[in-house]
């Protein structure tokens, strides 16, 4: 620790950081633009000028940029010095010379870092009377609006988009005051993390297009801390509601999980909440027609589903409370996970690994610390996108170690990049097709699923002779396996990533063998990141036994052991073959389906009950690490929809707190669950925390058209938050921080005021609770790694493919996401395309059974393999075998085809 003196006051500081960061960590106000807590300093904007003195006798001092000056021991600086203040004011005056008179019609207004910094610097009157330079804008896709006039050329956008997120299609163009940030030509921003530009840009150049369609100022949004339900990472979000509609989702800082950034699925995939198609009232099917059912009769319906022959099918996209309520209603032995058998087996195996002390399941922050990574079979960018962004930081650890060796501080961003050039920590990707991370991968190996398992086994065997050398008969590149094993064994923090999206147990077993071998070498827990596909896959897995898969439930129904079924927030047609589900429904005497939106499953049900979405209920979710997080209710649902747990519980359960307590008592795994609920004793006088900001407007007019007599504010009897402006603001308690705001800091940059230190934990922060205890090291290798899904007979070995926009069921119902989705496609190699005489974009039928997909010829596909993306359930992958035969379907054009598909190895010739 160093001591620095700022304006005569002594502070403890970290000498490894720069002065700007340390001043902000101390809660001091110092304006800045180009510096970002995650991206270090480049000293481009000259805004953070302070006066630095050589020693106590120096009364002149000199003006330095705080972001480019280390916080070395004994530094004496002054923020309030007149010369420094004048410099900051003049710098912002020059930055504002070309800034247009747009604030009233700018989406950033009211949460604009430039507005805040201008006020903070004291510039208030325009003296420059010459002409403003202007720019033409570009169309950047359905997510982001572009308004280049507003640019102050801080370079944050390209530093984020290119340097941090690895994008290739946004760049600085032209020079001097002509500098322009955009694409080489108009078009969709390709990065899966483009939405963060909205938060990274200090002004309104990049704004949220989806939000703008139903725009409200930040202060008018009713917000609450929430958790993204797009995948199993569990990023923290702040959704905002106005006039009964969910308006937008922004990032909510969590030092352990998502930090400052979200993926575009999480940020833009919430529109289904406002969908007109939402189920609004309980319905009963009478003579094949759905009729509405009075809410009062719901309890009678539920009462029919008790006793003998009733089973409950849970859901990985439903909360712990909903799943637990169903499990309790039907009995633990009659509760099924509702996940396809193959994936269910993987999930349970991964849960088992999560309890083994030989491994640790790293969070995003720990992933960023890895210095050699192997991704085994998982297309991370499309199944757990935030992890892919973390990997892009992890490969830069090589650069950081080089910098440290050369005495360059890590925050000197430009210098560190210049030093390392393209020298990256080794990342090896074993996959079915070229992934979006290939540009940073040192080694790639593309093969069928059985080939990938064989590769995994070969790597494990190179590390430890105890691990089986091969599974099946696939021949692999032994030299490559040796190289990857060598890289992993030499690393300080090796990381193995595997997942269950492929539904292949062999991959998980192989990954576990590699991690175990590394554990034996290192004698320290090895990071084994086991990714699950959906938001609460882990919670559901912890609630069920391995045998309680969907297949087991359907068998029980077809054997007439079960005659009644409750299906919780689950479209079974996405998880089993159509014939299987159809025959199950035909056998059932009675069925009750609870869901958010109508699905094929709700169409088959006798009773359908509407349930609330993530933003309309308080709930807990367990992410892939076993981290349970609480997501608060943001707004109320005005239809008859209720949280599923409320439909499924008796009247004695009034809050989720009751269920959480019961769940913790009932299930050993969930013993710590109640700790995630806020301790009400910490709130002054039992006062609630307002969901609405102190500037919330229109209270006495927004409903006056209906009745001029204002209704009483709705009372929230569920949580510590209030549906009003009243209570103790989050300024005092960041554990329930919705929208970050601090005096003088209206933008999201105000988050530094809530952090213990910059990039640190939030004050009184809540990062979730890791539920899974690592009991003991089993020490056993998987000796019989199963290599199912082997290519047999004719046809191409089939593996599943995923898309960030489309593979998630609910976000795929969102308009902006739909614009980025493609219909079902099948990737094949150019050689196979030639043999089958297929062209890019041709329609093919799979096995001649009527399922139609577009052909996507990819130059890096291994001949003899194919990867199928089933679209938004256009094709049911559970109806396909392990190999697939393609026949041209004649119709050359149809659907949206593969237009807009972004892959790195799109085969161009002959297209």
């Amino acid at each position: 620790m160093a001591k620095i003196i700022v304006d005569g006051v002594e502070y403890e500081a970290n000498p490894d950081n720069n002065l700007l960061q340390e001043c902000l960590s101390q809660g001091l106000d110092l304006p800045y633009f180009c510096w970002h807590p995650c991206m270090g300093s480049v000293g481009a904007c000259r805004q953070c000028a302070v006066k630095q003195y050589k020693d106590a006798d120096d009364d002149k001092g000199m003006v330095v940029m705080a972001c480019m000056t280390p916080a070395s021991d004994g530094s004496i600086i002054s923020i309030s010095d007149e010369q420094a203040k004048l410099m900051r004011e003049r710098v912002i005056e020059s930055l504002m010379i070309n800034h247009p008179h747009d604030c009233p019609v700018c989406e950033e207004g009211g949460e604009c870092h430039l507005q805040d910094m201008t006020v903070m610097s004291g510039h208030n009157y325009r003296r420059y009377d010459k002409k403003k330079r202007t720019h033409n804008n570009q169309y950047l896709g359905p997510f982001i609006s572009h308004e280049m006039n507003r640019c102050i050329a801080c370079y944050r956008c390209v530093r984020y988009y290119d340097d941090y997120a690895g994008g290739t299609d946004l760049a600085a163009q032209a020079s001097h005051h002509h500098v322009y940030f955009g694409r080489h030509e108009e078009g969709v921003l390709e990065s899966e993390f483009s939405g963060n530009l909205v938060e990274v840009c200090p002004t309104g150049v990049f704004t949220d297009k989806v939000f703008s369609e139903h725009y409200s100022r930040k202060w008018d949004l009713q917000t609450a801390p929430s958790v993204c339900t797009g995948c199993a990472v569990g990023c923290n979000t702040t959704p905002g509601e106005r006039y009964g509609q969910l308006r937008r989702v922004v990032n909510r800082y969590n030092s352990e999980v998502n930090g400052y950034f979200l993926c575009d699925r999480g940020r833009f995939g919430f529109g289904y909440v406002n969908s007109e198609e939402r189920l609004k009232e309980p319905a009963v099917t009478v003579n094949g027609r759905a009729e509405s059912l009075p809410v009062g009769q719901a309890a009678e319906v539920i009462a029919q589903f008790t006793g003998e022959g009733v089973i409950g099918i849970g859901s990985p996209r439903a909360s712990n409370e909903a799943n637990y309520a169903l499990r309790r209603l039907v009995g633990a032995e009659n509760f099924y996970s509702g996940v396809a058998d193959a994936e269910n087996a993987c999930n349970h195996l991964m849960l088992e690994l999560a309890q083994d002390s030989a491994f640790c399941n790293p969070g995003i922050k720990d992933i960023e610390k890895a210095d050699a990574i192997l991704v085994l079979g998982e297309d991370i960018t499309n199944t757990a996108p935030r992890v892919a962004l973390a990997l892009r930081q992890a490969v830069r650890n090589k650069a950081k170690s080089l910098a440290a060796a050369n005495n360059i501080p890590a925050w000197q961003d430009a210098a560190v990049r210049e030093l390392a050039q393209y020298d990256l920590s080794p990342l090896s990707i074993v996959s079915s097709y070229a992934t979006r991370l290939d540009d940073i991968a040192a080694d790639k190996y593309i093969d069928s699923l059985s080939g990938q398992v064989a590769m995994g086994c070969a790597i494990a065997n190179k590390l430890s002779a105890q691990a089986p050398a091969a599974a099946g008969t696939d021949s692999i590149d032994a030299a490559l396996a040796g190289k990857i094993a060598e890289q992993l064994s030499q690393a300080e923090n090796p990381l193995i990533i595997v997942g269950s999206s492929n539904g292949n147990v062999g991959l998980v077993q192989a990954a576990a063998n590699i991690a175990r071998a590394l554990h034996e070498k290192r004698q320290a827990p090895t990071a084994l990141c086991t990714l699950m596909p959906e938001v609460n896959s882990m919670g559901l897995t912890m609630m069920t036994n391995e045998g309680q898969s969907l297949g087991a439930a359907l068998t029980k129904i077809s054997n007439s052991v079960a005659t009644k079924a409750i299906v919780l927030e689950n479209d079974l047609y996405r998880r089993a073959s159509r014939a299987q589900v159809d025959s199950a429904f035909a056998k059932l005497e009675s069925s009750l389906v609870l869901d958010v939106l109508p699905t094929d499953t709700t169409a088959k049900a006798h009773y359908v009950f509407p349930v609330t979405t993530f933003s309309e209920q308080e709930s807990t979710f367990v992410n892939y690490e076993g981290r349970v997080q609480l997501s608060y209710q943001v707004h109320r649902n005005h239809s008859a929809a209720q949280p599923a747990w409320r439909w499924l519980s008796d009247a004695s359960v009034v809050q989720i707190n009751d269920l959480v307590a019961d769940c913790a008592g009932d299930l050993q795994q969930f013993a710590q669950l109640p700790e995630v609920l806020p301790d009400t004793a910490q709130f002054v006088g039992g006062m609630k925390i307002p969901r609405q900001s102190h500037r919330y407007s229109g209270r006495t007019a927004m409903k006056a058209n209906l009745n001029v007599h204002e209704p009483k504010q709705a009372v929230d009897d569920q949580s510590v938050l209030a549906f009003s402006m009243e209570g103790i603001s989050t300024q005092k308690n960041a554990s329930v921080l919705g929208a970050a705001w601090s005096p003088g800091w209206n933008s999201n940059q105000s988050i530094s005021k809530f952090q213990e230190e910059v990039n640190g934990e939030l004050k009184q922060g809540d990062t979730g609770i890791l539920l899974i205890k690592r009991v003991a090291n089993s020490g056993a290798y998987f000796t019989d790694v199963s290599a199912n899904r082997r290519a047999v007979g004719d046809g191409l070995a089939l593996s599943p493919a995923f898309q960030i926009f489309g593979s998630d069921e609910l976000s795929a119902k969102t308009k902006a996401i739909r614009e980025r989705m493609t219909s079902a496609y099948i990737s094949i190699s150019p050689q196979d395309a030639q043999t089958l005489s297929l062209q890019q974009g041709d329609q093919v039928s799979l096995n001649g059974n009527g399922a139609i997909a577009s052909v996507c010829i990819r130059s890096q596909m291994k001949p003899g393999t194919a990867a199928l993306y089933p679209g938004d359930n256009d094709i049911n992958p559970h109806e396909l075998e392990e190999t697939v035969q393609l026949q041209s379907a004649g119709n050359k054009a149809g659907g949206t085809g593969i237009k807009g598909l972004i892959v790195s190895d799109f085969y161009e010739e002959g297209y």
Binding site: C103, P104, G110, R133, T134, N149, S697, A701, N707, H709
Partner: protein, 179 residues
């Protein structure tokens, strides 16, 4: 004794004299409503929404009036025309809450919302004091005749492209190497 006379009797006489004198003074009472008082132009009464000199709605739905309003009696929603021009989809003032403070007018960056010298807003039903955009929007420019926000702002709209606003240079050709 003298003090008692001074405190009571003189005061009574003066009062009587003042009242008597007023019999001959010209009356101040105005026979409202037959006779209308003169209202100064900047008097803060009924709120209107004005149009710009081109006849388009001035309000850009920036929400600043709503946030400035101390009684929160203004509610509106932003919408956008095809050419990018912002306007309020609805604009509602609950006059039964309004205290005519004029903060909304001060906050308005486009001179759209203005207070007028009209004070005759009494209604029999309180619900009738909720005014929507069609009730508020007038056809003229109100007190400020010349100001046209979109001619100053940098955003392009129909018939005003980038670089055509007040004090703006032509858009940059990013592929040019000229200084």
């Amino acid at each position: 004794m003298l003090k008692l006379i001074q405190d009571t009797l003189i005061s009574q006489v003066v009062t009587l004299w003042t009242v008597f004198r007023h019999l001959f003074v010209k009356t101040d009472t105005v026979e409202y409503p037959d006779e209308q008082p003169y209202m100064f132009p900047r008097w803060r009464g009924r709120i209107i929404l004005s149009r710009d000199p081109d006849g388009e709605e001035r309000c850009v739905a920036c929400n600043l009036c709503a946030v400035a309003c101390p009684v929160d009696c203004i509610a509106l929603q932003k919408a956008e025309k095809d050419d990018g021009r912002w306007y309020p989809e609805f604009f509602r003032i609950n006059f039964s809450r309004c205290i005519m403070c004029g903060f909304c007018e001060e906050a308005c960056p486009t001179h759209a919302i203005q207070l007028t010298p009209d004070f005759e807003m009494a209604e029999y039903k309180r619900q009738d004091m909720v005014w929507e955009k069609q009730d508020l929007l007038i056809d003229g420019t109100g007190k400020y005749h010349d100001y046209n926000f979109y001619r100053v702002a940098g955003m392009s709209i129909k018939d005003k492209d980038k670089g055509e606003a007040l004090n703006e240079a032509k858009p940059i050709d990013v592929r040019s190497l000229m200084p």
